[in-house]
Amino acid sequence: MNTFSRSIIYYIIVPIIVLLILFIVSIFIGSQNKTFQNTNAKDIIITSDFELYDQDNKKVTKADILGSPSVLFFGFTYCPDVCPTTLQSLSVLIGQLGKGSKQLKFYFISVDPERDTPEALKQYLNSFHPAIKALTGDPKQLDVLIKSYSIYAKKVPLENNNYTMDHTSSLILIDKNTNLVGTITYDENIDVALAKLKNLY
């Protein structure tokens, strides 16, 4: 190989290859970031308006959810196991977010309005982080939220006219336009969960 062709390799071809690799890598990273931010996001939003009540019996509509990102958890107060554990986990996460948590809203949404009155929810929430609000009300109104995010909620009878609810246990993460942007599972690693929450604001 003569000096000329060698310098062509060193000064033109090698840099071009390096740039090309960098370009491809950057596209790859970019697309990965995008999919992380838009997990499951195919315009999954709250479809229509609704009228629900919080733990202080104050009316809450879609307009109250819009404007800042929110974390939604669907559950019921008669759940002795996974619901209090998840709400306690969420309380820990909110504590760890510190001031950042003020940019988010947190809702515990009842899938059992028959038993979860605003008064019952108020008492129930006493055990958890004060930033968590509750929503309950007419089943049809709750269905707007349940259906919007494809939440599974089903009444299952137990003995003596008791019943329990099978329900989706993940935290639902939505942006300020109510777009679904991700979920946090019951057993999510705490650092991953924190990163997902921080990614919301």
Partner: protein, 156 residues
Amino acid sequence: MLKKILITLSLITISSSVLAYEYKIGKLEIDHLYIRVTTGTNVSAGFMTIENEGDQPDKLLSVTNVSFAKQVEIHETTMDNNVMKMRPLNQGLTIPAKSKVQLKPGSYHIMFMGLTEPIVKDKKYKASLNFEQSGSITIEFDAEEAKGYYQEKHKH
């Protein structure tokens, strides 16, 4: 110096939690019993660890003599595609030979329904555990507040 104290303390804690059991019946050792403090609802769950040192399996068939609840069942919570399901174990909970079964959130619990009094912190709650092989034993649950998954996982 502080480090030494800490190491000694943690060794004591570890060894005591390994060696000590609260109740023993037959080949079963029962430990870490607690019931969840209630927050307005009339249901609660009881948790514990049951270790079977024998070489025969045993079975927790029922929980009786509960003065604070109208209905008591042994339940299993499962996660099916992130959907939480809670079901009674009508055949009882098997404790295999030479193994340990943990009743803990997201797994098994004793379900107390129709509570006749709230479960409050620092009170003790009595119940009888009825095993197929080992017979019955009266135990006491400590009342504890709900722990999150993160606290639950690192506890011991």
